[in-house]
């Protein structure tokens, strides 16, 4: 399988992972190691001055995982730019997962604010990975302002609804000259495999792994699914028939036995 390049960095795994929602740091680390993921997301928040927070940074760095801070919590381009600069200081990386969702109910990304922030952040030297709706026009615009990849959603964050945006993901994958990473909504390894079969360059999975009854085993299942999907894509999938032209195509020769029986 070919490796994936983003901004000059080579990834051997096409499974990117989030660190949220795990029961504890041990379960998180065991799962991330089992997933063989090389890029993991983190968030920033105002420090809790009263309570001690689990130190998750040390084990992540010890295992050589590349950290991808996100701008979760930002509601505008201005806030997202500030969050990106804070993250660059905190984690010493200029990579940023840009996400701006002003509406806490559906967590739908704000395309206009995202485009504005992306353009500004690229100019400031960030590697910008924008989380957006599966909007082929917006993805093209983000590519044009210099984003190093696009991260369209499969379905709402944490919904486990899979690739509800499939037709639009197909268009984005067809048109994009930067890697396409399907983010959000991937609920099962089969969703991840499908995304890779369709030609997505990677997927980002968090909830489906973190809240599984056995997160470590689920992480392994996702690793296998992503590898299977990519292998299938690289070996050339045979075309699916469209539903309005549903006619079987024989996979064995239709021998005319009847004709031989007289």
């Amino acid at each position: 399988m070919s490796s994936l390049m983003i901004a000059g960095h080579e990834f051997h795994s096409r499974l990117f992972t989030g660190t949220g929602k795990y029961a504890n740091a041990e379960s998180m680390m065991a799962s991330l190691i089992a997933s063989e993921s090389e890029l993991v997301t983190l968030s920033l928040r105002r420090m809790d001055l009263q309570n001690k927070t689990d130190n998750i940074l040390e084990p992540l760095q010890k295992h050589g995982m590349k950290l991808l801070p996100n701008t979760s919590g930002a509601r505008t381009a201005k806030e997202a730019i500030f969050a990106s600069e804070l993250a660059r200081e905190a984690l010493e990386t200029h990579w940023i997962k840009l996400e701006i969702h002003p509406d806490p109910r559906y967590l739908m990304p704000d395309g206009m604010e995202t485009l504005m922030a992306a353009e500004a952040l690229v100019k400031k030297g960030f590697v910008v990975m924008p989380y957006v709706h599966a909007d082929p026009v917006l993805c093209k615009r983000l590519e044009e302002v210099g984003c190093q990849c696009v991260m369209p959603l499969g379905s709402p964050i944490g919904s486990n609804m899979g690739l509800a945006s499939r037709p639009f993901l197909d268009m984005i994958i067809e048109q994009s000259r930067v890697p396409v990473i399907v983010d959000a909504g991937i609920g099962a390894p089969s969703d991840a495999a499908l995304a890779l079969e369709m030609g997505a360059d990677a997927v980002l999975v968090n909830t489906a792994m973190a809240v599984a009854q056995q997160p470590e085993t689920m992480a392994k299942a996702f690793k296998l699914a992503v590898d299977a999907g990519r292998m299938a894509y690289e070996s050339g999938l045979s075309k699916q028939q469209s539903s309005h032209n549903m006619q079987a195509q024989a996979s064995s020769p239709l021998t005319d036995f009847i004709g031989t029986l007289t």
Binding site: K21, M28, L44, R46, E89, A90
Partner: protein, 65 residues
């Protein structure tokens, strides 16, 4: 002096940002600080002096998707 740290008043007896983080007994790994809405690079923490009513925001890295 009294500072405002993450929106709460905080009585502080040191001088610099490094002193403040030490007084809070918090790790500095994965941490970023803004004073009066300006981000202070880590390299400047030791020489950044705090003054009465400085608005300090301290951010930490946590798990997230």
């Amino acid at each position: 002096m009294t500072l405002v740290v993450n929106d709460s008043p905080y009585e502080f007896e040191g001088e610099t940002l490094v002193d403040l983080l030490a007084a809070l007994e918090k790790p500095t790994q994965g941490v970023a600080v803004a004073i009066n809405q300006n981000i202070v690079p880590k390299s400047q923490w030791a020489v950044t002096e705090l003054t009465e009513q400085s608005q300090v925001f301290i951010f930490e890295s946590i798990a997230g998707g």
